[in-house]
Amino acid sequence: MGRRYARTGPGANRRVSAVSQKGDAAVGAEALPTGLEGGSTASRTGWAPWAYRIGSVGAVLLIWEVYGRSQETTLFFVPFTSVVGALWEQIQTVEFWDAYRQTFIPFVWGWLLSLAVGIVLGLLIGRFRTFDALTKPYLTFLNALPISTLVPIAVILFGIGYASRILVVFLFGVVEVTLNTAAGVRYVSKDLVEMGESFNARQWTLFRKVIFPASVPGIMAGVRIGTGRAVVGMVVVEILLVAVGMGRLILRYRGRFQSADLYAVVLALIIFGILLQVIARRIERRASRWKYEMEQPA
């Protein structure tokens, strides 16, 4: 009896495990397409997330529109369609494009400068401890401080020309670029570095061929975040102190209670900011593709 029992034991187990294996396989096969739709790959390509995004934005715009129309005056709150209309009229004026250019030129310089300085500084900080120690007080300081408080100082030092605006945009962007780049370098896999050393690579070759490419995802994250900050800096300096470009338009329309025009300028800035973010994100994703792929099973 006992023997027979012992024999059926494992037999039964085997059957159970065979069933469960089969069950798992079936679940796996079914789960695969669903997993793709819900997974991170699909959130980039599938239609469902887009439907939600568009629905969400559409709902808010609809509320805006209805509430705007219910107002008795257009002094404070205007319907969305009026804002779009105002923007449509603005973009047909020379003044708008002049303002955009005035805002845009120092932004581009300050932004590029923050990327260049941030990446180089971040690479040095991530690689050399001495450099980390030398720069840490300043980065901590810049990180703790609302950069806006430096705007008056920048203007006192550099006047209201391009220089002070470039400086402010630069200061807004540079911290995030630096810190993310440094983190990217610091967290390069130690195994990869050791592999490079074992093949007798020179320091510079090791940096160029292993450490730098492995840091690219961190660098690109810094570029994306820093770009967003630089856009904030661009607007802040114009509104706070130097009334030029888009900032001057905002202040003027506010002063005249031309709300639709005021919102239109803000909308133009938002569109510009979103556009930059989308581009930056796309570049980041492309540069870091190996990292995402590595984290997903082949």
């Binding site: 990869l192 074992s198 093949f199 007798n200 061929k209 082949a298």
Partner: protein, 260 residues
């Protein structure tokens, strides 16, 4: 010839003390010899290998290769890692040529030079695939090809098949055996598998632990070329049984189950 002369290594611990990983290790490895190092986990066998690679400095003694003291990594040595350590952003051909690239060759030249090695490890079809698309066994073939591509005199292998499943592992051992028969390089092979050590090696160093030291060096009296069948010969069984006896004595629990 590689001569390990009275090597010791101390590591500083967090609490300000120090810990002796290796103590007075001496042995030598002949040219074209397949030499394995086996020992319980934490006995310092990987540390020892990395010292020969020039990645870690000994705190006592010296390592000499053909009479010249090892002061760092060199072009005469190449390493194969337990976890492969391939570039995830580069394709297989670039990965195989990467050792050459690190030594100053251009990407284009190194990829060209890597091609014959791609074929030798049987990955011709996968030249433009990426590491994450390959199985563990295939990834380690890339690791092996990368090491062979720099034409080293000495191949240093750190538990190269330790991360693979048992079947893949056995296939890889046979492939390595075949490659080694063709290449005739000096190999230092760290492992914790007794079967693997007996099957592949000319000699096996069994290490003591706490601190790591030489316990004994065993000759493997099996004729070459070795086929699968040597695994069932009395000599093979006796040898692995002896290693197990030695290793078991070092492991705290005498009733500990045998490792694979």
């Amino acid at each position: 010839m590689i001569e390990i002369k009275g090597i010791g290594r101390r590591f500083n611990t967090r609490d300000g003390g120090s810990f002796e990983a290796l103590k007075d290790v001496s042995f030598s490895v002949k040219d074209k010899e397949f030499f394995s190092i086996i020992g319980p986990s934490g006995c310092g066998k990987t540390t020892l290998l990395k010292m020969v690679a020039g990645l870690i400095r000994p705190t006592a003694g010296a390592i000499e290769i053909d009479g010249r003291e090892v002061a760092g990594p060199g072009n005469d040595r190449a390493m194969v890692f337990q976890h492969f350590v391939l570039l995830p952003w580069a394709d297989i051909l670039t990965n195989i040529g990467f050792g050459l690239e690190l030594r100053g060759m251009s990407r284009k030249e190194s990829r060209e030079a890597a091609r014959p090695f791609l074929e030798r490890v049987g990955l011709t079809r996968f030249a433009d695939h990426y590491p994450h698309e390959l199985s563990g066994g295939m990834q380690q073939r890339v690791g092996l090809a990368r090491a062979l591509a720099v034409a080293p005199d000495i191949l240093l292998m750190d538990e190269p098949f330790g991360a693979l499943d048992a079947q893949t592992r056995q296939l890889m051992q046979e492939d390595l055996m075949r490659l080694w028969d063709e290449e005739q390089k000096t190999v230092i092979f760290v492992t914790h598998s007794m079967d693997e050590a007996a099957y592949l090696s000319d000699r096996v160093l069994v290490m003591d632990t706490h601190p790591g030291a030489v316990r004994e060096i065993l000759d493997v009296p099996l004729a070459r070329p070795r086929g699968e069948e040597v695994r069932v010969t009395p000599v093979f069984t006796e040898l692995t049984a002896h290693m197990w006896h030695e290793l078991r004595g070092m492991m705290g629990d005498p009733s500990a189950p045998a490792p694979e």
